[in-house]
């Protein structure tokens, strides 16, 4: 076991997969010469050459479309979208082409789209968004969002080996802040499976990405008040692991859904609807969503702090629920 950061985990997963499988290659803006805006591909150009780590023109739709075409004829491209916010430029290729190829005409499209997302980095409206919501309503895509270095590596390997288009959300705030011990040998984390990040019995927090860590902070504070929190880390956003969601509802009977993405029509809305539809009798209180307000991500520190769900917001939601 070796301790590595979340970013190092992403880098290692790509490096190991590229070594293992010659059909894996990377394309995107500044991934080659510069080694990626966040250094996720530093040293790759020297190691793999300019045809497996391609600096592309500034054209997300064009190079995402090209990744799809390469995938259809047997490659396993990893597309790096420099900031996930720019994925909107590739929306058509992902939604129209990649997501529907297999259903429409049987075309297999094994692409991974790495989407560095999330706030808390003072990036403002166009360098801080969580983009999973844009794609959550698109059948045919898979969306994963790891919260730990262990999962970051294991899920990226699974995404690369998967035969469907996978949007891999990686939270920029976690890159160098989160460390884990990961096995030195090859391992994967399955797509479509949530995990119990913390076992508890009073209230469940269903969350993913950087908010898993916020949930832990809240759980720590509430421990002193003898409230036992269970944390479900979804890990895969699309398709949702319904069983894990229903299991925790049946166990604690109280659910908070926490995410950094804006609230309306978000992942939390769907999770809440599923619980309402299938687990209503198990609920002891209405489901509460703690999520970002329905605005762009503001820049100024007090504004951004108010936008991103904070530990105190989770604590007060839980206290409200305990009083219910």
């Amino acid at each position: 076991m070796k301790e590595i950061t979340y970013l190092e985990a992403i880098k290692q997963a790509m490096d190991e997969e590229m070594t293992r499988d010659p059909s894996v290659f990377i394309l995107g803006e500044d991934v080659g010469i510069y080694g990626g805006a966040f250094r996720a591909t530093e040293g790759f150009l020297e190691k793999y050459g300019e045809w497996r780590i391609l600096d592309t023109p500034l054209a997300e739709s064009g190079f995402t479309g090209a990744a799809i075409g390469a995938a259809l004829v047997g490659m396993r491209p990893i597309v790096e979208i420099q900031f996930s916010d720019f994925i909107t430029c590739a929306f058509d290729q992902l939604v129209t082409v990649a997501a529907k190829n297999h259903y429409r005409w049987g075309g297999t499209t094994p692409i991974v789209v790495r989407a560095p997302c999330g706030g808390n980095i003072h990036g403002g409206p166009f360098h801080s968004q969580c983009i999973e919501g844009y794609f959550f309503n698109v059948p045919g895509l898979k969306i994963v969002f790891p919260s730990t270095a262990y999962d970051a590596k294991g899920l990226l390997k699974s995404a690369i080996r998967d035969n469907d288009p996978v949007i891999y959300c990686e939270h920029k705030y976690l890159y160098r802040r989160i460390k884990d011990f990961v096995p030195e040998e090859d391992y994967t984390v399955p797509i479509g499976k949530a995990r119990i990040a913390l076992e508890g019995k009073d209230i469940s927090i269903i969350t993913y990405g950087a908010m898993v860590h916020t949930a832990f902070e809240a759980a720590q504070l509430l421990k002193e008040k003898e409230i036992s929190i269970e944390i479900i880390d979804l890990r895969t956003i699309l398709p949702l692991d319904k069983k894990s969601i229903f299991d925790t509802v049946k166990k604690t009977n109280k659910v908070i859904i926490l995410h950094e993405q804006t609230k309306t029509g978000g992942v939390g809305a769907e999770v809440s609807a599923l619980i309402n539809e299938y687990c209503f009798e198990y609920l002891d209180a209405p489901v509460i969503r703690v999520a970002a307000p329905d605005t762009p991500v503001p820049y100024s520190p007090p504004l951004e702090e108010a936008f991103i769900p904070q530990t105190k917001d989770v604590v007060s939601a839980i206290e409200k629920m305990m009083r219910y």
């Binding site: 290659f25 045809w51 497996r52 391609l54 592309t56 023109p57 054209a59 739709s61 064009g62 190079f63 995402t64 479309g65 090209a66 990744a67 799809i68 075409g69 390469a70 995938a71 259809l72 004829v73 047997g74 490659m75 491209p77 058509d92 290729q93 129209t96 082409v97 529907k100 190829n101 297999h102 259903y103 429409r104 005409w105 049987g106 075309g107 297999t108 499209t109 094994p110 059948p139 045919g140 898979k142 998967d162 035969n163 469907d164 797509i191 479509g192 398709p239 319904k242 069983k243």
Partner: protein, 325 residues
């Protein structure tokens, strides 16, 4: 490459098969037996037949919606295509998709998405794969004059040129994008001028001359296959039907259609074959009866084929399905 006599006859066969099959789609659409829409390549068949016939077996085509000739030349049968139009289980997409939205990688055909020029980028990607793997294959991508206004057209052209990828871009310039004439689509005279901005060679060909389309496409493929990079080929033609078969195209001046009627690609080819003593009249009539029979058989096959079951609609979303516990 000089086309052999058999090739020339094959080209005429594919032109006629495309015409007859699509004419039948049109009739069935008007009879209400084909639902939704029916787009044809009427009057422009020489483009898809020509560029597809010039491909090698292992090359890849990313066609657009007036490329019925591409499907046929690549080996997708009239039976499967007719069943596709009738929404049957035996259709190319087993009823998931309609009409011309066809793809089958067993025949090196990438599925066509309605969003024009998306396949320019996708075809470019297939070429990128060939380049990475060091394979001597090419990809061809096609769109219409309207499609050249989209961002994906430009992004793909640029990427292909920068990386000198083995892809050939075809433009079916049929002068109308639905009802929008060229002059409202672009401020340039020839679509081919767009290639200049990307440092890409271009050719303008008579899109109603299948031999010319074939020859120019073949040269471009040869160049791409040997590391010479992409070419853009503008095929000038005229759409002789409406955008789709529901559209009577009243916005197209009748004189323009009359003028282009004389340049019909099938008549063109017939004249060429007869005047150069390549084929006799009887031989060409023989093609007609062969094509007629094939289309009739396709229709019977499709009519007799079952519809998909409602539950089939829930299948095939993922290539790697995720099992729910």
């Amino acid at each position: 490459m000089d086309l052999k006599r058999e090739d020339l006859l094959q080209l005429q066969y594919y032109l006629k098969l495309t015409r007859r099959l699509e004419d039948r789609f049109s009739s069935l659409y008007h009879q209400g037996r084909i639902l939704g829409g029916a787009w044809t390549s009427n009057g422009t068949e020489a483009i898809s037949v020509g560029y597809s016939y010039a491909l090698e077996k292992n090359d890849i085509a990313a066609p657009y919606f007036r490329d019925m000739g591409c499907f046929l030349v690549r080996g997708i049968t009239p039976k499967r295509l007719m069943a596709q139009y009738l929404g049957k289980k035996t259709g190319v997409t087993a009823g998931k998709e309609g009409n011309v939205h066809v793809g089958d990688l067993n025949f090196g055909v990438i599925g066509f998405p309605s969003h024009l020029a998306d396949n320019y980028a996708v075809g470019t990607g297939a070429a990128l794969a060939f380049k990475i793997r060091g394979e001597k294959k090419v990809a061809v991508a096609c769109t219409g004059d309207g499609g050249t206004s989209r961002g994906d057209f430009h992004e793909a052209m640029n990427l292909a040129a920068v990386r000198k990828l083995p892809v050939v871009f075809i433009c079916n310039n049929n002068q109308y994008a639905y009802s929008t004439p060229l002059k409202l689509q672009m401020a340039i005279k020839n679509v081919a001028e767009r290639a200049l901005a990307y440092g890409m060679p271009s050719k303008i060909v008579d899109g109603n001359n299948v031999v010319e389309v074939f020859t120019v496409a073949k040269d471009a493929y040869d160049m791409a296959r040997n590391g010479g990079g992409p070419t853009f080929i503008e095929c000038k033609t005229m759409r002789m039907h409406g955008h789709s078969e529901h559209d009577s195209a009243k916005y197209v001046p009748r004189e323009l259609l009359e003028e282009w009627k004389k340049k019909d690609p099938i008549l063109n080819m017939e004249k060429y074959l007869l005047e150069n003593n390549i084929a006799k009249k009887e031989e060409l009539d023989g093609i007609d009866s062969r094509v007629k029979k094939e289309v009739e058989e396709a229709e019977s096959f499709a009519e007799e084929s079952p519809y998909p079951s409602p539950e089939d609609g829930l299948k095939g979303l993922y290539a790697t399905p995720i099992e729910e516990e």
